[in-house]
């Protein structure tokens, strides 16, 4: 039994790193526009599917395929903002959220037509030989996912703190009206947020695709899990989001190993409700003003 707790931890980290990676983009858009983008999971899937197709066409080198996948996801993010969100942006927030939900169904349909309904697989970046620690084993790809999530958060943090665009983004998140009064083009900043979020989403798809494969309809579940992770971590804090994602994955894994695998999803949402009751602003969030 000795290796069980460690193997469960590794299993939880694998799922959790996926949730965290998806949640980062959700939080980025939420911070900039207060909109929960229900089409975010579609960026993730789109990035992965384009990369898989490109890798099949281009062959050996993975990097150009990843650039293609992330690029297409980024364009999709910009298009979503320009064609779907902006035309209805004067409406209440729930209308915007509904618009993103509608867009997600549309994108999913298009992806089904283009890529079919089969689950597709991408080769793991550094092989499939697991790393062993005692009795337990972890896939190198999991480390790639965790590494990408940490790198994405660190780079984003630096971008937001040290560049003019990043500072403008933070200003818009703080107060769009006074940001525009001080000469910031709020609209371009919103577009930038969507582009960045979609790019990170696309990258998330690329790094998670080798773990369990990906199909056209994986996006909705990813969005829901990512959203849960984001709320647990605090919707505004990027580090909190990574923490929330990993925590969600680990709790699910221990729950299914030590209590019951059937209760896995129920446990995840019990955690969500618990966090909302005790700390409504999330684990690392600041209290709403």
């Amino acid at each position: 039994m000795s290796g069980l707790w460690l193997q469960v931890l590794f299993g939880g980290l694998t799922s959790g790193s996926i949730y965290a990676m998806v949640a980062i983009g959700l939080v980025l858009i939420y911070r900039a526009t207060r909109v929960l983008n229900f089409a975010h999971g579609e960026f993730v899937v789109l990035g992965a599917l384009v990369t898989i197709s490109a890798a099949r066409t281009l062959g050996t080198a993975l990097l150009p395929s990843i650039v293609a996948g992330v690029g297409v996801a980024t364009v999709a993010g910009v298009l979503l903002e320009r064609l779907v969100v902006r035309p209805v942006s004067r409406n209440p927030h729930f209308v915007l959220i509904l618009a993103t939900l509608a867009a997600s169904i549309l994108i999913r349909g298009v992806m089904m037509i283009v890529w079919g309904k089969d689950t597709l697989r991408l080769a793991a970046f550094s092989g499939e030989d697991p790393l062993r620690i005692g009795d337990a084993a972890i896939l190198p790809q999991t480390l790639w996912v965790i590494g990408s999530a940490v790198a994405a958060v660190a780079l984003l943090g630096a971008f937001l703190r040290h560049t003019a665009y990043g500072k403008a983004m933070r200003a818009c998140a703080e107060n769009p009206v006074s940001a525009s009064l001080s000469g910031i083009d709020v609209r371009s900043i919103v577009v930038l947020s969507y582009a960045l979020a979609a790019a990170i989403g696309g990258l998330a798809g690329v790094v998670i695709a080798p773990i369990a494969g990906i199909d056209f309809q994986a996006g909705l579940l990813l969005t829901i899990k990512g959203l849960t992770a984001a709320v647990i971590g605090g919707l505004e804090n990027l580090y909190g989001v990574v923490l929330g994602g990993l925590l969600l994955g680990i709790v699910e894994a221990y729950g299914s190993a030590y209590i019951s695998s059937v209760l896995k999803d129920a446990l995840a949402f019990a955690i969500l409700i618990g966090v909302l009751m005790v700390r409504p602003q999330g684990l690392l969030g600041t209290r709403a003003r």
């Binding site: 069980l4 199909d215 994986a218 221990y254 059937v262």
Partner: protein
């Protein structure tokens, strides 16, 4: 206004005549090609198989296979010198579309029996129509026992647990851990398959349930390992089975992995990747027909069929090719015995005994509407050649 309408009408009727002449020529064409069947109407059998949508891989294997069987029947003179015609309808894997198409097959095309569908996803909604309109169907659905009075199946299922029990014997293991998918599959496994394993002398030491969208099941496998399972039975299908196999390999699980033969597809090999070398499954001979020993009584028939299938489709036959062929065989034999009356065909299907088909022998009864007994063989994945191969004990 009136005159203009008249002029247009004349113009149209001229075009109509030309077109109908062309159509008439076209429709006479095929009739002229088969003069041997005389003036009798063809016997029409429906093929309700999904060739698009999620079930397309199964349907596009089963349809050409059924057609091959029908062609063989026609080449040897048809049934009482009457030609058999297979009328295909593609339900696009959608139950509601299947309902409309089945009604069309029965009312417009006047089929006297139906072959297909390939999944309970579609067949469940068709059940009342078959029984109310009294049209028998032989499907390729995973079901044993009495389905409904007019529904039959030619899906090899009986004996699958026996294969696992024998495999456990040759691998010298007796403690089995089961990982299955929560929901109706888990119920089926618990109610019918686990008792069969226990009866066969194996000890089920743990049952874990995963979800369709899980991305990592190592915690569940670790629990089975903790419970001392020497053989992990992945009672799963599709992507869940590949994930379990990958995680099994990732953990370097000290034991053997077994899953359903229904998973034997190109997509499975593709998805399971390098973890394919841990996978064993109860398989069908058609997947490894080239490797069968010459002493195998079914080898000649399967090879002949496979060659025809490759000539027709340009690819190796998959599982559902054999199922589709056997469904057609069962239906045609019943029509041969009972004639044109769908009710009598139903009775004949129920009374089929020792009917040799490609996957085995069909013996049906009032309480058994599947009745296909198959000799299973353990298979492995050849990860290098990306094919299935016979498992060597």
């Amino acid at each position: 206004m009136l005159q203009a309408g008249k002029g247009a009408g004349r113009k149209w009727s001229w075009r109509l005549r030309v077109w109908s002449a062309i159509l008439a020529c076209l429709s006479v064409g095929p009739l002229a090609a088969v003069p041997a069947f005389g003036q009798n109407d063809p016997i029409k059998v429906g093929a309700l198989l999904s060739t698009t949508g999620v079930l397309a891989p199964a349907g596009s294997d089963a349809l050409p296979a059924a057609q091959i069987f029908i062609d063989e029947v026609n080449a040897s003179g048809g049934i009482n010198k009457r030609r058999v015609e297979l009328v295909h309808a593609d339900d696009e894997s959608r139950p509601e579309r299947a309902v409309a198409l089945l009604k069309r097959l029965i009312q417009r095309d006047r089929v006297i029996g139906v072959i297909g569908p390939a999944s309970t996803i579609v067949s469940a909604s068709l059940s009342p129509i078959f029984n109310e309109d009294k049209i028998p169907v032989v499907g390729c659905i995973c079901f044993v026992g009495k389905i409904t009075p007019y529904e039959f199946s030619a899906f090899p299922l009986q004996g699958i647990m026996d294969t696992l029990i024998r495999f456990a014997g040759t691998s010298k293991v007796s403690r089995v851990g089961v990982i299955t998918q929560a929901g109706s599959l888990a119920e089926l496994v618990k109610n019918t398959q686990l008792p069969a394993l226990e009866k066969g002398g194996l000890k089920v030491v743990g049952v874990e349930q995963m979800q369709q969208n899980d991305t990592d099941v190592t915690p569940l496998l670790a629990r089975l390992k903790g419970a001392g399972a020497e053989l992990v039975f992945g009672a799963l299908s599709g992507t869940t089975a590949t994930l379990a196999a990958k995680n099994f390999k990732q953990m370097a699980y000290p034991g053997v992995f077994w899953t359903y033969g229904g998973n034997a597809s190109k997509q499975f090999i593709e998805l399971v990747g390098s973890a394919g070398d841990v996978v064993n499954m109860g398989g069908y001979k058609i997947l490894v027909y080239r490797e069968l020993p010459d002493s195998d009584p079914q080898k000649a028939a399967i090879t002949k069929f496979a060659e025809k299938f490759i000539a027709r489709t340009g690819r190796d036959p998959g599982l559902y090719a054999a199922f589709g062929y056997d469904a057609a065989a069962s239906m045609i034999e019943a029509i041969r015995a009972a004639g044109d009356d769908p009710v009598k065909i139903r009775d004949a299907l129920e009374q089929q005994r020792n009917l040799q088909v490609m996957n085995g022998v069909i013996t049906r009864s009032e309480v058994q509407h599947n009745g296909l007994a198959t000799e299973w063989i353990p298979l492995r994945v050849d990860t290098a050649k990306k094919t299935f191969t016979m498992a060597k004990p």
